[in-house]
Subunit: 338 residues, 2 copies
C-alpha cells in the first residue's frame, strides 16, 4: 500500500520488484559502449519490417515479449501494460502491442515514458490493483527523423546541440516477487517551460523539469544526493546535464559526483557522431533495462534515482513559435527492499 | 482500497466521488440537443486564440479550471492530473495544462481518454495515492480535420459513415467527498482489431472493443445490462452502435433497451449534418460531464456504465494500409456508494 508524501511523491511501501527486464537496440547502439549488455542488437534497424513505423512497433513488441518470457510468464499473465512512444498517436505502441492482448493503458510522456510507465505499474502493484504489470517504451531513429525533422534521404545537417534519437526499447515486468531491483518511491513531475524555443537543444528545454523533479524528490523524502549511488537522468545530453548540475547547485544541491545521463552513456560521443548525446524514449529505457538494472541486481549499485525527461512539443507547435515544455518523473530503484 | 476482480476489472471499494465536473463546447455543439447543459458555449470556436491547436489547448485548460473551481479548489490542491487528446504528441493537453502546474500524467487513449483518465484518477483516489485528482480531455473539429483529414479550406466531402469530431472538453475532479456521483468500478480494455480499414467508418472499427469491454465488465462483476439504467458508449455513432448491439446479441446479451451513444446524443443527426454522429475525445467527455453526471447527481439515473471508445490509428498507418485498432474502457458510475 502506498504512502502519499506530497502531491508529487509516493512511497511504495511493499517495494514492488522489477521481476524481469529486457532491452533491444539497433546497430549504432549495439556498437556503443553498452553494446554487449542488451538482449539483442538488430544489424539493419528494420527489424524485418517494411516501414520505419512498423520497425518500431516490432522492436517494442519483441522487447516486452522478451521481458515477459524472462519472468517465466506469458502475455496472458500480465494484468496491465503501460506504454507509449513518440510517434503521432503513439502508433509504435498501439500497433506493436495489439497482438499481445494485454489490457492496455496508453501513456504519452515523450522521453519520460519509461519513468512514467514504471511509476504507474509500480503504484498498481503496490496497491494490489494488479498481480503482474508491464511497462515498455521505444524510439527509432528513422521513424523519429521522418516525423520530427527530415526524411533520411534529405541528408539534413545537425547542430552541435542536437541529440541522436536512439533506436532502442526497454521493458520491465513488475510484481511482488520480492527480489531486487525494488521500486521504492516515485515522484511525478509537472510541466516546466522556461521559454526555450530551439528544437535542436532539447536538453536545455528539459533540464528545468529534471531540476524540479530531483529537487522535489530530495525535499519530499529528506534524502541528499549522497543517498544515491547514481542519479541517472533520461536524455539531457551534454548541454542539458551541465544546465541541470548548475541549476541544482544554485539550490545548494551538488549532484556532480553521482550524476550520469543515459544520453551520454548509450553512445561514444567522441567516435559515434551523435553530437550532444542520445535521446528518444528508448534511450533511457534501454540504458536502464540493458545496463543499470543488472548492476542493481548484482549489488554493484545499491540506490539509483532514475529520472527520465521528456520534451512535450510537436512539430506544429514549433512552427507556431511556441516554446518547449518539459517534464521529468523520478523512480527510486534499490537493491534493498527497505 | 481496490479489489482486483480480474485482469481487467477493479472494484473501487471506497467509491470515490466525482466531486465536480465541467464541460465547455463550441458553437455547433451548443446548438445541439444538449446545448443548455454545458457550462459554456464558445460562439466562434477560436476560444480567443490564433491557431486551432491553441484554441484546443485553451478549451481544455478552461474546462479543467472550471471543474477545479466548481469543487471549491484551486489548481495547487490537485495532486495529479490525468489527461490527453488526439493531437500529435498530445499538444492540446501539454500546452493547455502547463500553466496550471499540477503534477501531470499524460495519457494517450484517443477517444477513450475520458474513461481512461477517470479510471486512473479513481484508482489513485481509492488507494489514497492522491487526495484530489483531476481528469480531462478535449477535441476540436478544426485541429482534428487539419491533422487527420483535410484543411478546412479544402472543403472535402464526407462519407455517410463518417463522424463529426466534436469541439468540446469535459473534466472531473475526483476525491473522497462522499457525495454522488460515485465511481464504483473500472474495466480496462485491450486493443481489438478485426481488420476494419475504412478510416471513414471509425464506429465499425471501435465496436469490437466496446463489445469486449462491456462483455468483460458484465462477466467479471456478475451484472446484467438491466443492472444499469444506461450503458453509454463513447462515439460509436449510428453504424458502430448497431454493430455493438448485434455483437452483444450473439453472446445472448441484449443492451438495446438501455444503450445510448454519446455520438448520437451530442448533435441532432437529422438537422446538424454530422452524418453518423459525433466523435472525438471531447464528445463523450462533454456528454458525460455536461449532461449525464447531472442526471446521476440528481437521482434521475442511478447506475451508468460509461464506455468510452478510441480508434488507435494515425494518418501514417492508414496510408500504409494498416487496419484500425480500437480500445474501450468502462467506468461504473452510480448515485449510490454501495
Amino acid at each position: 500500500m502506498s504512502l502519499r508524501l506530497s502531491q508529487n511523491t509516493i512511497i511504495l511501501n511493499t517495494s514492488p520488484s522489477i521481476a524481469s527486464y529486457a532491452s533491444i537496440v539497433g546497430k549504432k547502439e549495439g556498437e556503443g559502449p553498452l553494446g554487449k549488455h542488451f538482449d539483442f542488437v538488430n544489424d539493419d534497424n528494420t527489424f524485418g519490417e517494411s516501414t520505419w513505423e512498423k520497425s518500431e512497433s516490432r522492436l517494442q513488441k519483441d522487447t516486452v515479449s522478451k521481458a515477459i518470457s524472462k519472468a517465466n510468464l506469458v502475455p496472458a499473465d500480465i494484468d496491465f501494460i503501460f506504454a507509449g512512444d513518440l510517434l503521432n498517436q503513439c502508433v509504435g505502441t498501439t500497433f506493436g502491442l495489439r497482438e499481445l492482448e494485454i489490457p492496455f493503458i496508453g501513456l504519452y510522456g515523450a522521453c519520460s515514458t519509461m519513468a512514467e510507465s514504471i511509476a504507474m505499474a509500480g503504484i498498481f502493484i503496490d496497491n494490489d490493483v494488479a498481480i503482474n504489470a508491464a511497462a515498455v517504451t521505444s524510439s527509432h531513429f528513422c521513424s523519429a527523423e521522418k516525423q520530427f525533422r527530415f526524411p533520411l534521404e534529405y541528408g539534413g545537417q545537425r547542430t552541435p546541440t542536437s541529440q541522436w534519437t536512439a533506436t532502442a526499447s526497454g521493458a520491465v515486468v513488475i510484481n511482488k516477487k520480492n527480489a531486487p531491483p525494488f521500486i521504492r518511491a516515485v515522484t511525478i513531475g509537472k510541466i516546466m517551460d522556461l521559454g526555450v524555443v530551439d528544437v535542436n537543444n532539447m536538453g536545455a528545454a528539459m533540464a528545468p523539469a529534471a531540476h524540479y523533479t530531483i529537487g522535489k524528490h530530495l525535499a519530499d523524502t529528506g534524502k541528499s544526493p549522497d543517498d544515491f549511488d547514481l542519479i541517472l537522468t533520461g536524455d539531457l545530453g551534454l548541454v542539458g546535464s551541465d544546465l541541470l548540475i548548475d541549476l541544482l547547485n544554485r539550490d545548494g544541491t551538488d549532484i556532480s559526483e553521482n550524476h550520469n545521463d543515459c544520453g551520454l552513456m548509450l553512445y561514444d560521443l567522441d567516435e559515434q557522431d551523435v553530437h550532444a548525446g542520445g535521446s528518444g524514449c528508448g534511450c533511457s529505457a534501454s540504458v536502464l533495462c540493458g545496463y543499470i538494472l543488472d548492476q542493481i541486481r548484482d549489488g554493484i549499485l545499491s540506490d539509483v534515482l532514475f529520472v527520465a525527461t521528456g520534451a512535450l512539443m510537436s512539430p506544429t507547435t514549433v512552427e507556431q513559435g511556441e516554446s518547449i515544455p518539459g517534464i521529468a518523473h523520478a523512480i527510486h530503484i534499490s537493491g534493498k527492499s527497505e
